[in-house]
């Protein structure tokens, strides 16, 4: 009898481990809420002071308490879209290269390790590398290009080494592994039967890729691109080291510019008073931009997946 009663108590005992696990889950959710609340509450003075003018103002002068982030928003959007524009074709071709058998398995494996290493390299090392290789290149060729394109506002000189283009080039390199690995998994999810069907109808390898595999994997590739865009918007160190950190608004690719995250990196350590609040406002805008981008990506992926599913 005692054995049985012990057994039943055994089950009735409170599972403290369960409680711990539950607590950890709650803590995770609360942490996210805390991050958002903390940023909003610290940004509140600046939000009250500047309101929407913060987004449209184009001057950032901490010494006179004038804050406007329009140039940084444009810089963030421009650098990340240019980076995506450069990285998308390269990333998709890398993912095709890795999933097709153009080369034997050993070089492909080596190639994959290289791409993984590209992904694991810290941002600050990219920045250092950019200062020594990309900055001189952009400075040199930028001036050459600027001289031959007299009237285009996007290519106006004089070309500086630390410019929007430099930051975008290095950013594209940094988001490339994301695009490559995510679109590779999308491409590898294409059913083998579809590929074999295309080959059986007499399609060549590239006809199969362009008309069967890429359309089927399109939701995944687009999701990869948008995720990479979100990462490019939030990327800080390499951009802060390369973009030139100018608070002026320019259209030219060869001029110094600034992004929201680089502004945070440069000014937080020495900020006080209203400037901290203004920087928290910038952080809030950055959170909204990146989360919005990721959310949009998820919606597009689901929507397109539905279309693809209905098509078959």
């Amino acid at each position: 009898m005692s054995f049985l009663s012990r057994q039943s108590n055994y089950w009735k005992r409170i599972d403290y481990f369960h409680l711990f696990c539950w607590g950890a889950s709650i803590a995770t959710v609360l942490l996210f809420a805390l991050i958002i609340c903390e940023i909003i509450s610290k940004a509140a003075p600046a939000i009250q002071e500047f309101g929407w003018h913060f987004l449209t103002g184009s001057e950032w002068r901490p010494n006179r308490d004038i804050y406007g982030v329009f140039p940084m928003i444009i810089g963030t959007a421009a650098s990340s879209f240019i980076a995506l524009f450069l990285a998308l074709p390269l990333g998709v071709s890398v993912s095709l290269f890795l999933s097709e058998n153009f080369l034997p398995a050993t070089p492909r494996h080596f190639f994959r390790m290289m791409i993984e290493m590209l992904a694991a390299t810290p941002s600050v090392v990219y920045g250092l590398w950019g200062i020594f290789t990309v900055v001189p290149l952009v400075h040199h060729y930028g001036n050459m290009i600027a001289r031959h394109s007299h009237s285009l506002p996007f290519l106006k000189g004089p070309a500086y080494g630390n410019s929007l283009l430099t930051a975008s080039l290095v950013l594209s390199l940094m988001i490339l592994p994301t695009i490559a690995s995510l679109s590779r998994s999308a491409l590898e999810a294409v059913p083998q039967s579809l590929r074999e069907g295309a080959y059986a109808l007499g399609a060549t390898r590239w006809e199969t890729i362009l008309h069967v595999r890429i359309p089927y994997a399109a939701p995944g590739i687009i999701a990869a691109a948008i995720l990479a865009l979100g990462r490019a918007m939030g990327e800080t160190m390499a951009v802060a080291m390369l973009i030139g950190n100018s608070q002026c608004f320019t259209l030219s690719l060869f001029s110094p510019s600034n992004t929201l995250s680089a502004l945070l990196a440069n000014q937080f350590a020495e900020a006080d008073g209203l400037q901290i609040s203004a920087l928290m406002y910038v952080a809030l805008i950055l959170v909204i931009l990146t989360l919005g981008t990721n959310f949009l990506g998820e919606i597009i992926r689901r929507h397109m997946q539905k279309i693809t599913a209905e098509g078959h």
Partner: protein
């Protein structure tokens, strides 16, 4: 027939076989070419790392303090120690929460509303830029205590690591075959006994691998610790004081006009890349065998 004729069949009946074959080969060449372009920067990076960073590599780098800007000599032992300490603090906070949270959403209540919320939040947290973790720790700890500290840097890194640990641990737990759990419950074990004695040992290698990947990523991050732990010239004394770290050292020294400091930045980069790659390799090899 309701099935449409595939595009390539419609377009190609008036193209010659030679044209199609040529296009096929040209696209292959283009694809291989574009893929090889992406590797060129990496080779350039590695070459510069070893050429510029390797020449200064010596034992004193690891044991000495950095010299004042403009002076020569010294190392960055304090930065290496600082990076390790801050990543340690971050793992101390995020490891238990991440793993326990993963156990809750994978084992205890996988379909509950809380589990769905946690998964959603983890996904949102992975999308948050690393500098926002820094801004959060700055607002939470630096503004409250009134000074920069290694603790704030560690907390910022912990926020960064948490979603990675949570998601990889959940995947690791889901990878354990459910027949193990059924057998354990069938023998009369409680949920705690099942998880602690059966599921966790089986999932541990994959969980450790996820944790190592998070550690490797955190070790290379600069943005979260740039304005939370700041930098210090001396050895780490207390976690409530500013602390040096490798990544912030690279950032600070890269902007200095002195060639010696720039050389140091390259050497520090080599050490940092070596550390990150080393942790990644250990994660892949040491914890891969058991699975």
């Amino acid at each position: 027939m309701s099935h449409p004729i595939p595009h390539f069949f419609q377009h190609n009946h008036n193209k010659t076989a030679f044209g199609r074959l040529l296009r096929n080969h040209l696209l292959t060449v283009l694809c291989v070419f574009l893929s090889c372009i992406t590797i060129v920067p990496l080779f350039s990076l590695l070459y510069l790392l070893f050429k510029k960073g390797g020449s200064f590599l010596s034992l004193s780098i690891f044991t000495e303090l950095p010299a004042s800007p403009g002076l020569e000599g010294g190392g960055f032992g304090n930065a290496i120690l600082g990076t390790l300490m801050m990543v340690g603090i971050a793992t101390f906070f995020s490891g238990p929460i991440g793993i326990l949270g993963a156990i809750f959403i994978a084992e205890y209540a996988p379909l509950s509303r809380l589990a769905r919320t946690v998964r959603f939040v983890a996904k949102l947290l992975t999308g948050i830029p690393s500098i926002i973790c820094g801004a959060f720790a700055f607002a939470m700890i630096v503004l409250t205590t009134g000074h920069f500290s290694a603790l704030a840097g560690g907390v910022a890194l912990a926020v960064l690591m948490l979603p990675t640990i949570l998601i990889t641990s959940e995947l690791a737990l889901l990878g354990v075959s459910s027949s193990y759990r059924d057998a354990s419950y069938g023998l009369g074990a409680t949920p705690f006994q099942t998880i602690w004695c059966i599921v966790l040992p089986e999932a541990l290698p994959a969980m450790m691998r996820g944790m190592m990947l998070a550690v490797a990523r955190a070790a290379g991050e600069t943005a979260p610790i740039l304005f939370t732990a700041l930098f210090s010239q001396g050895w780490p004394r207390s976690i409530l004081e500013p602390m040096a770290s490798l990544s912030v050292l690279i950032y600070n020294f890269s902007a200095l006009p002195y060639p010696y400091q720039v050389q140091m930045a390259w050497t520090a980069s080599l050490v940092l890349v070596g550390m990150v790659t080393g942790i990644n390799l250990i994660a892949q090899w040491a914890f891969c065998k058991k699975i």
